[in-house]
Symmetry: C2
Subunit: 146 residues, 2 copies
């Protein structure tokens, strides 16, 4: 692949349908922008104040939504570009982030007791296409833990 930059991360607005007893929230359809293929869907909880960073996928495109809480995402590309996105139902920004491979990312939980993100990935989880770095590997201040 060529060099992926943080400008290539797409933000897609999602419908939230008001229903008596509990809303319905769209996440992703196979005809939606950013959908490539279905490999796997999984959830990641993130407790308030906690940071999970840094990770980079070499092959996977991520489609991330936050149906519970709010999450601060930070993306870093190989050209030094950095981008922040705060998304989630609790912050009134229920959108989907499409993240191409090759971009470092980390995230912090902003909602108590925890937020939930879902990733619909175009390939199933494969350890060999994931790279990790320690949280202090980039010059980014995540702020206080709690």
């Amino acid at each position: 692949m060529g060099t992926m930059t943080v400008e290539m991360i797409a933000v897609t607005a999602l419908d939230r349908i008001s229903v008596d007893g509990g809303d319905v929230l769209h996440a992703i359809k196979r005809v939606d922008p950013g959908f490539i293929d279905f490999g796997e869907a999984y959830f990641s909880g993130i407790n308030v104040g906690y940071v999970k960073a840094w990770k980079r996928h070499l092959a996977m495109t991520l489609n991330i939504v936050v149906p519970v809480g709010s999450v601060q995402f930070v993306f870093v590309d190989e050209l030094g570009g950095i981008r922040e996105e705060i998304i989630g139902t609790e912050v009134g920004r229920y959108v989907r982030l499409t993240v191409p491979p090759g971009i470092w990312f980390g995230f912090k939980g902003l909602f108590s007791p925890r937020s939930i993100l879902m990733n619909v990935a175009d390939i199933p989880h494969e350890p060999h296409e994931v790279e990790r770095l320690a949280v202090n590997s980039f010059n980014f201040d995540w702020g206080a833990k709690k």
Copy 2:
């Protein structure tokens, strides 16, 4: 399709991986039992004590997980068969229900303030393949609202 019965609903155990800062919960991979195709993924919130019932899909196979809370599902087939499943992280039963088309279902939220279910459907939402009946259409006692 032939007559679908509640015995055809599959229950698949899912992995929950303990991670510092928030667990990772598997939902569905394309190689998993019960996966047919990817049409759409969406969330449905269900407030504690509320019931959403009854609905039947004529074409869609549902793959349902409950990453937040716990939900009581009730299934009714055309032969009068009835089946209950209570699933969700809060009840310690994090499993996936694969529900073939042709089966009536309803569900009730058991966790305060609300539970979240996700459905990974093999086709995108299509109003013409959905049938609905009023909550009192079957002889099932959902219990008190709250």
